[in-house]
């Protein structure tokens, strides 16, 4: 246990496709599980982000007050922060509302005088932003979603104590 690293995955404003890709590593997950302990994730029960995590994969863009709070906290408690996938990297589909702002989007969802909920749900930011615009990011993994092979490469490189270079390997989209 002592020589395994802790791994967290976070799902901000995205479609969870990157997490699907993560699961697509299939039998390699078993191999990785001997070296990584998954301490926080939408895939596990843990509700509180641990005091220190070695590697955190962040899927999704920063779109709400809650995302912003979360990602800042995660940054403070993470060794290597990985932006996973186009939403985290570019804003991607999540950021397509930036051309209009949040109001017209809410109006589309709550038309004809229906009121958008104002309590209990986090307020939308004026502008959806990629993770690196909000906190420093250590590793960028493009792709919508990044392939299971790419994610595997990133994780094994990090385990080997190297900073993975994906230049020329993974592309947007």
């Amino acid at each position: 246990m002592s020589d395994t690293k802790t791994l967290a995955t976070v799902w901000l404003d995205g479609c969870s496709g990157c997490h699907m890709s993560l699961l697509d590593m299939d039998e390699r997950l078993i191999e990785l599980s001997s070296q990584f302990t998954l301490v926080y994730s939408p895939l596990v029960d843990q509700k509180v982000f641990p005091e220190h995590v070695d590697v955190t994969l962040v899927e999704g863009a920063v779109a709400s007050e809650d995302d912003l709070k979360k990602v800042r906290k995660i940054r403070d408690h993470t060794g290597v922060l990985v932006s996973l996938g186009d939403c985290a990297l570019t804003g991607n589909v999540s950021a397509m509302r930036n051309r209009f702002g949040p109001e017209p989007v809410l109006l589309r969802v709550y038309p004809d005088g229906q009121k958008a909920p104002s309590t209990g749900v986090p307020a939308l930011l004026d502008r959806v932003r990629p993770v690196h615009e909000v906190v420093p990011v250590d590793v960028f993994v493009p792709g919508c979603p990044p392939s299971a092979d790419t994610i595997y490469q990133v994780l094994t490189e990090l385990l080997a104590g190297r900073v993975p270079t994906l230049e020329g390997v993974a592309h947007f989209g």
Binding site: T90, F100, E133, F172, G173
Partner: protein
Amino acid sequence: MSAEANIRTLTIDEVDISARADETILEAAREHNIDIPTLCHLEGLSEVGACRLCLVEVKGARRLLPACVTRVEEGMEVTTHSAKIDRYRQMVLELFFAERNHVCSVCVANGHCELQSLALRLGMTHVELPYQYPQLPVDASHPRFTVDHNRCVLCTRCVRVCGEVEGANTWGVMGRGAQSLVITDLKEPWGESETCTSCGKCVQVCPTGALFEKNRAGTKTAKHPEFLPYLRIMREGEQR
């Protein structure tokens, strides 16, 4: 003039090569499998030197020179890749990505886009400059084709192929600076253009998903600009 007199010897990335005097650095480099990235260049069209991705260092030159329009010279020493050039190209590419709405994942050209593959080739994993998110129109008035200005890189390949090859001169550019827009006729809807022959050449030469054929998606959206050089050669043959 003898054939020898038309030959220039030079080095590109310290490789000795020879090229015809009327060739550009880009042509000479590609003949020798030396990679120089380009976006606005397309074989068969005139050069505009607009994308600035093919800038190279030429020893003795005060500035970086665009390889697509710079002719080879005797004794030239060209460097196509250096830390500085690579950094400049990355930032130029970032500027392209940030200025309009290039959302690769939901683009018809995903997987067949020259801008997308340039990011891969030049190792651009993310854009540090803030995205501009301009509000840009999509014109789907043409029965077969669509122009989506959100994906346009203003390379003017469509403008050139329409004027130089098809001879229709339907495409043009209006506005200036970041407000520049490729337009059909005098900004009439494409479907109402009286000059457009619907030949589709503009679609085939467009490097991104800005111009695309309707009812096609995925692998079928691959463009085929390779018709151009052949067409040129055939036409020149006819004129002789």
